[in-house]
């Protein structure tokens, strides 16, 4: 290649790079303007830092390796690391039903709701007037026909005031809603601009306490995120509050949770391990069978086998639930000629059933990766082994399988981690059931850790996001530890066989 051609090519690639990075920067500027407009400083900072990193890495001469890693790294940080950290943080708060607002907002809402119409007080016809200084006034006509302006007797609209039409009220509705005219033993207010009622607040706020004006009960702000009276009565809504380690402590010390969650952990482990084992065994068997050269219709078989993988898993799961129904399902009625097998109603059989359904859902994936890996095993290796006198079983056991495991090992670990948290299959096939009536918490025989936590956190009186986040973080740590150990094992395999 001539120098001219080479420099021309370099120029072309530079232009391409400028265009791409320019596009990224243009998008970033748009993002910055948009986030600035809504004052979202967190996202603003993230965009700023990410764009600076992109510009530096792609224009500096010393960062060749980072050019390949950076896009993946940015997505990893945003979609994985950030999510995990945020979940762990939420585990330190009480966020959930009743604790969705911040404190000022919760207080504002409690006070607004506490202003109640005086029982039995009549409705007033009201008009909102604007005075000469453009301040708002309330002209009210009671049921007795007497008219008042801001509480003082009046005969009608004064000459220097004018009635505001509805369209103008819309623009000034905060002012209209805030109008209070002392009348009788409360104050007149209007919420629609045409009818008014006499209302009276029943709570008074001072020094971070709320006092009931009728009963005298005092509600103090507590670290539980509620206004709470001495006898434990709370005012809703509460607010978000950092509760420290409470959620994590509860996960380990609550007597009712400990024993059930331990047995659930054992089943979760067994479910994940057996799911990987069965799907891998079936996938490998089919891959080996269909790997034979000269098999007629190989393409058709392979396409057919991938079909279960192509249907959304929750749909397949729902279909399976219907088919496994004891009295009306296709399996008992159609396949087994009127058998009465409690597929999903018996504790042990339900476990077998979810494993079978998961086998159906999972084997095409294993079939695909094994087919790919088999084709990567060099033919010479097999031939050499055969010349050395290895039989078909020995060939598979000593040569093919170890070589397969080198490339599929990491995927098996990933599959284990995925099945450990396979909420979809459990939720749609059995819902965790059949129920265990003797368990101290709501729990079913096929519940995995993740679905058991879902039931504990969301099955009580209200959803406890904070507790759910704490439990998820613990599960994340468990899965991460198991996966790390698994990856170490596969690395050892790699070193032996490569």
């Amino acid at each position: 290649m001539t120098d001219l051609a080479r420099s021309g090519q370099r120029l072309g690639s530079l232009a391409g790079k400028l265009l791409l990075v320019g596009l990224v920067n243009a998008l970033a500027v748009y993002g910055l303007v948009a986030t600035y407009a809504v004052r979202d400083w967190g996202i603003f900072a993230v965009i700023l830092v990410a764009t600076a990193a992109v510009d530096y890495v792609y224009f500096s001469r010393r960062t060749l390796a980072s050019r390949y890693l950076l896009p993946g790294l940015i997505f990893l940080l945003i979609f994985q690391v950030y999510v995990v950290i945020y979940t762990a943080y939420a585990g330190f708060t009480n966020v959930g039903d009743g604790h969705n607002l911040d404190k000022p907002r919760a207080l504002q809402h409690i006070l607004a709701v506490s202003e109640k119409r005086v029982p039995g007080s009549p409705p007033y016809k009201v008009q909102v007037l604007a005075g000469p200084d453009d301040r708002l006034h309330l002209l009210a006509t009671g049921p007795d026909g007497r008219t008042t302006l801001d509480g003082r007797p009046a005969t009608g609209v004064p000459a220097d005031h004018r009635v505001l039409p509805f369209r103008d009220l819309v623009g000034r509705q905060q002012e209209v809603l805030a109008l209070r005219v002392p009348l009788q033993d409360g104050s007149l207010r209007t919420e629609d601009g045409s009818t008014g009622y006499i209302a009276k607040p029943t709570l008074r706020y001072a020094d971070d306490t709320l006092t009931d004006t009728v009963t005298g009960t005092v509600y103090r702000a507590t670290e539980r995120g509620y206004f709470e009276s001495a006898d434990g009565k709370v005012l809703t809504p509460g607010w978000k509050e950092v509760v420290g380690l409470d959620n994590y402590v509860r996960a380990f010390t609550d007597e009712r949770l400990r024993a059930p969650l331990l047995s659930v952990f054992a089943w979760t482990f067994a479910f994940a391990a057996l799911s990987v084992l069965t799907t891998f065994a079936l996938g490998l068997l089919l891959a080996l069978t269909l790997n034979r050269e000269g098999l007629r219709g190989r393409g058709i078989y392979r396409s057919l086998l991938v079909l279960p993988y192509a249907v959304p898993s929750f749909l397949s799961a729902l279909v399976w639930t219907g088919m496994l129904n004891q009295s009306f399902g296709f399996v008992n009625h159609g396949l087994l000629g009127g058998a009465d097998i409690p597929w999903l109603n018996d504790a042990t059989l339900a476990k077998v059933s979810v494993l079978l359904v998961n086998l159906w859902l999972g084997f095409p994936y294993m079939f695909l990766i094994c087919t790919g890996a088999l084709q990567a095993v060099p033919a010479e290796v097999n031939e050499a082994a055969r010349i050395d006198g290895a039989g078909p079983w020995q060939l598979f056991r000593r040569v093919t399988l170890p070589l397969l495991l080198v490339s599929t090992g990491p995927l098996l670990v990933a599959s284990f981690a995925f099945n450990f948290n396979n909420f979809t299959v459990i939720y749609f096939v059995t819902g965790g059931g059949p129920n265990i009536p003797d368990a101290p918490i709501t729990l079913g025989s096929t519940d995995l850790l993740i679905s058991a936590v879902y039931k504990v956190a969301f099955g009580g009186a209200g959803r406890e996001w904070g507790f759910a986040c704490a439990m998820s973080t613990i599960i994340f740590l468990v899965v991460a530890a198991i996966s790390a150990a698994g990856f170490r094992r596969t690395r050892a395999l790699e070193e032996t066989y490569s």
Partner: protein
């Protein structure tokens, strides 16, 4: 209570095109107010995708969230409101169930609506999260059925304008079962005889499903004198007084066990199986609600809707659900919202139009009087007249699962019915006590 899924991600810009049209030159009018420009009102409907959080429609004076069956009517009323008042209205169409959760999460974030259509049993969640504002119905209070107002009351305040009442009743296939059964035993006998004669596959289509179904079993339980929560002095439910394992509740548990043995009820019946059996003429009776009327009639079933016969001697009271309009506590335009809900939606004409589209018994007494000549509506109302509002307190969340499991486990024959019911009650008390 299921509703067909919406077409995903579809965005209709139905009336939005109107806003693109150039403003017509208006002749100067001496009557126009000096300060108010002659604003042109308009109303648009936006169909929202079913996944992800909903964002408030921008640049509207009033935003309403409604589901697909109600949004066309609301759009019509919104058009009139917009024209009368010169304001911009946006109707955002959501999946019914998504309205509640989005109101809680999106409201405080400033992306919530001003008005929603919803069910009264959301109130516990909405009030504890500070998501809805009280509504002063004033003189209108007396125009609604008492049970509807009671349902929309929470801690002594009214939170919604009710429009429809919903409860289950007995569906009877008059070809299979020509006579109204006088008692639940008689109903079961008629049903079982038909099964024996191979004229039916289910004596009574009553859904249980994988989690049990306390909503559909409640009329039977209440006829034994059981209930979910006792009532406090102010008329609200008391979460500290659970009734599912009272004397009547245990008698109900034993009765369930009896129906299991006589094969009158099966835990394997799901919503789909129950509906299919009744609508194909393979079950003489079904306990279900107005959401199934159309399909049963379309399937050619000669349908009678009647009060549920008593199994335990006391009236079989179904849960009554009330639907209505609520105003968000985080409404950007509360004044407009109040005006719209009270003076436009809260009229007999609108109530009638909503009735015509959904055929749920109207909550407004005067409108109910107009439509009660329809025997199906009258049947639902007769069944619901002895009903009690579905508890809306948050503690109810803890009841559903365990109460359902107890019923299902008894029907599966998993042990002593009395013990199973008591175990469930213990777990529920535990959860509420937390």
């Amino acid at each position: 209570m299921r509703r067909p899924a919406l077409a995903l991600g579809l965005v209709l810009l139905a009336a939005a095109c109107g806003s693109q049209a150039p403003e017509q030159a208006q002749p100067p009018s001496p009557s126009a107010s000096a300060t108010s420009p002659a604003a042109k009102g308009e109303a648009t409907t936006i169909v929202e995708p079913t996944d992800g959080p909903i964002k408030r429609a921008a640049a509207a004076d009033l935003v309403i969230w409604a589901d697909d069956t109600r949004s066309p009517i609301i759009q019509k009323i919104a058009e009139k409101f917009a024209a009368d008042k010169g304001v911009k209205v946006a109707v955002q169409q959501l999946e019914f169930g998504d309205i509640r959760d989005n109101l809680v999460t999106q409201g405080p974030a400033g992306e919530g609506p001003d008005v929603v259509i919803g069910a009264h049993d959301w109130l516990g969640k909405l009030v504890t999260n500070g998501a809805v504002a009280p509504l002063e119905l004033g003189d209108k209070l007396g125009q609604f059925k008492e049970v509807a107002i009671k349902a929309f009351s929470y801690d002594g305040q009214v939170y919604g304008l009710p429009y429809a009442i919903e409860n289950i009743a007995l569906f009877r296939n008059t070809e299979l079962a020509p006579e109204t059964p006088k008692s639940f035993d008689e109903l079961m006998k008629v049903g079982l005889d038909l099964v024996k004669q191979k004229k039916a596959t289910l004596p009574l289509a009553l859904q249980v499903g994988p989690e049990g179904d306390p909503y559909h079993f409640f009329p039977i339980a209440s006829s034994f004198g059981s209930g979910v929560f006792d009532v406090k002095a102010d008329g609200g439910y008391d979460p500290a007084k659970l009734l599912i394992d009272n004397e009547g509740g245990l008698a109900f548990a034993k009765a369930l066990d009896g129906w299991r043995k006589s094969k009158a009820l099966s835990a394997d019946v799901t919503y789909d199986i129950a509906k299919e059996a009744f609508n194909s003429g393979k079950a003489p009776f079904q306990l279900t609600g107005p959401w199934n009327t159309d399909d049963a009639v379309k399937a050619g079933i000669k349908l009678a809707v009647e009060p549920i016969p008593s199994a335990g001697g006391k009236p079989a009271a179904p849960f009554v659900g009330v639907q209505g309009f609520m105003i968000s506590a985080n409404a950007k335009n509360k004044l407009v919202a109040n005006e719209f809900v009270l003076n436009y939606l809260g009229t007999p004409e609108v109530s009638k139009e909503l009735y015509d589209s959904g055929k749920r018994p109207p909550a407004m007494t005067s409108v109910y009087e107009q439509v009660k000549s329809d025997p199906i509506i009258a049947g639902f109302a007769a069944a619901g007249d002895i009903g009690q509002p579905l508890p809306s307190i948050p503690a109810m969340d803890a009841v559903w699962t365990e109460y359902g499991h107890a019923e299902r486990d008894i029907l599966l024959g998993k042990g002593d019915p009395v013990k199973l019911m008591k175990q469930a009650a213990t777990k529920i008390r535990d959860k509420i006590g937390d």
